[in-house]
Amino acid sequence: MRFRAKIVDLACLNHFSRIINTIAKLAKTCILRLTVCKLYFILSDKIANGGASMWCELSQGNFFDEFQMEGVAAEHNEIYLELVPENLSRALKTAQSAKAVKIKLTNKHCPCLRVAVELPSLSSSSRIVTHDIPVGVIPRRMWNDFREPSVPDFDVSIYLPVLKTMKSVVERMKNLSNFIVIEANLSGEMNLKIETDLVSVTTHFKDLGNPPWASEDGCQSSAQGRDLESMAEACIDIRKLQQLLTGQQVNPTKALCNIVRKRMVHFILLHEEVSLQYFIPAIA
């Protein structure tokens, strides 16, 4: 099992750092899955707290100048590592002006991801900072636990409002309540509601648009048969939603959510080089 990668371009490095920062805000510990072409950050609801789960996928070619990976075996050319993304975030934080960043899987005293940052210096040789991030190697028999979650059979799919606006609304609501109700319909309307003994607050968004989903047999979504006005709602932990929104440092190209009435909310945030899916279960 081997892994080495290198980033030389500063823009790629910054972009990668931002993604790691987002992941770090969502999960204390997560799985990093490495394949020949892609990296995945996975949070399975089994190991997470609060039952939320996450699937983040990026193409290595968009970030790394060099990327070599040898999985556990030829037929299973993948590596699954458990790590604390905050460590990776910290290691990359002070690499803003780096000449190069190398990441390597090592096993000196224990398996580690060694992040070596080469920094410019006034002297003849560069300054090297190494961060040894301890990781856990996930054995192959457990890989099934981390499969890509399927898109749930949702009741409503709707584009999200401008994330910055949504974030400031949710932040204010968080001061009043621990739970928030998200409801939306197929007419592009969404409401965010909180209710306590003393006060209830609802923020209404409209004209958001509903993404077209092709159903399995290839025809357009069966929205015609459904009541366009009826709202599907789910009550979720407001902190999870806030973490998701705070972690977004760049506006996604597309942001939408799928609501499964009273069961869960499935968020999909798409950027050019990375896609992030976040599942928040509904509170009973």
Partner: protein, 361 residues
């Protein structure tokens, strides 16, 4: 100085005005000596053969509060007068500002004994000198909450800084960050090969920001683990010393198998440092010979006046542990009990007890 202790000690001498501070666990001490030339006017007051040098201490916060907003002070204050009024027990700070405004602050002070850590940079085997900027850039890679850092020498003359991982922490769960600086980043390097020391980062960061702001190179004097590390800044009118205790533990070297062969004291029993109060003994500075290199201690007062009570010392011990330098179990106090043979705490019988433990056993 406020990063180190809550009290500011002032000592006007012929050589200049000395400002000092010490932390509650006695593992960090700093002194700033402003030469007479630093001031427009400097009158230390007469210290005849009968009168001792006058020393006092004030609350750090009160003193700092007077200089709260530097930018606005720079714009409005023309002169600052510092006056010690012993009979009124007041330290007067008078700011002469624009438009004829004079702000006078009267701070209450307490007389105190001399605060002095005994250390000798000449006795340090290793010395490094670097521009403050280089060290500041090095330290930035470590998280602000990191308590201790290990400075070491490595192959090729490189100098390394590594975060110190406590024994209690699981090595397989803790991230280790290490930075290597080439010899030519320093202005001068004279180090014993394979040496390394571990010290608290917090107070060091404080000195580093001062050094950066004043654009002065920083010199680090160190010796074996357990002996204090001394950071100095020198200028024509200012002499700064920061003395920090270092870890004298085996574990500080076990992290880097490459630096082997460092001689150091065996691990201290954990009881030792926690039990500081039982070891309130003012020591002579003389070495005890074969019992291992002692940490420097400071005599709280001259041995002659063994009778007088140690009021200042008692007050200090009653303060709760300040959450500054974490009183790490294995850090030795700079000032006490070093002459104890490690592993046998409590055997102070060979030492002259100059001050009884005020709390009693």
């Amino acid at each position: 100085l406020s990063r180190i202790g809550d009290e500011l000690y002032l000592e006007p001498t012929e050589r200049g005005l000395s400002l000092r501070a010490v932390n509650s666990s006695r593992s960090a001490f700093a002194s700033f000596l402003f030469a007479p030339l630093f001031f427009q006017l400097y009158e230390p007051g007469s210290a005849g053969p009968d009168t001792e040098v006058f020393r006092c201490k004030v609350h750090m916060k009160s003193f700092l509060g007077i200089f709260r907003s530097l930018p606005s002070l720079e714009k409005s204050v023309g002169k600052c007068l510092i006056l010690l009024k012993p009979r009124a027990s007041r330290l007067v700070l008078q700011l002469h500002c624009k438009y004829g405004v004079t702000k006078t602050h009267n701070l209450a002070f307490q007389e105190c004994e001399q605060l002095q850590a005994v250390f000798d940079t000449q006795r340090c085997a290793s010395r490094l000198c670097a521009p403050a900027r280089v060290l500041a850039e090095a330290v930035v890679h470590f998280p602000p909450t990191l308590a201790e850092v290990t400075l070491g020498t490595g192959p090729g003359g490189k100098i390394s800084l590594r975060n110190y991982v406590e024994d209690e922490a699981e090595p397989s769960k803790t991230m280790v960050t290490e930075l290597w600086l080439a010899e030519d980043e320093f202005q001068s390097v004279a180090v014993a090969p394979g040496s390394n020391i571990t010290f608290c980062l917090k107070e060091f960061r404080g000195l580093l920001s001062f050094a950066e702001a004043s654009n002065l190179p920083l010199t680090i004097h160190f010796d074996e683990p357990g002996r204090p590390v001394i950071f100095t800044l020198d200028d024509t009118v200012l002499e700064v010393h920061l003395v920090l205790a270092t870890l004298s533990d085996l574990e500080s070297t076990s992290q880097s198998p490459s630096t082997n062969g460092v001689s150091h004291l065996p691990a201290q029993s954990d009881d030792f440092a926690d039990d500081l109060e039982s070891y309130m003994v003012a020591m002579e500075t003389s070495e005890v010979g074969s019992e291992g290199p002692p940490s420097p201690t400071f005599p709280l007062r001259t041995p002659r006046s063994a009778e007088s009570k140690l009021e200042e010392e008692e007050e200090e011990e009653e303060e709760g542990a300040v959450p500054g330098t974490p009183p790490h179990k294995k850090f030795r106090s700079l000032f006490f009990g070093s002459v104890m043979t490690p592993g046998r705490p409590g055997q102070a019988t060979t030492q002259e007890v100059l001050a009884e433990d005020s709390d009693g056993e």
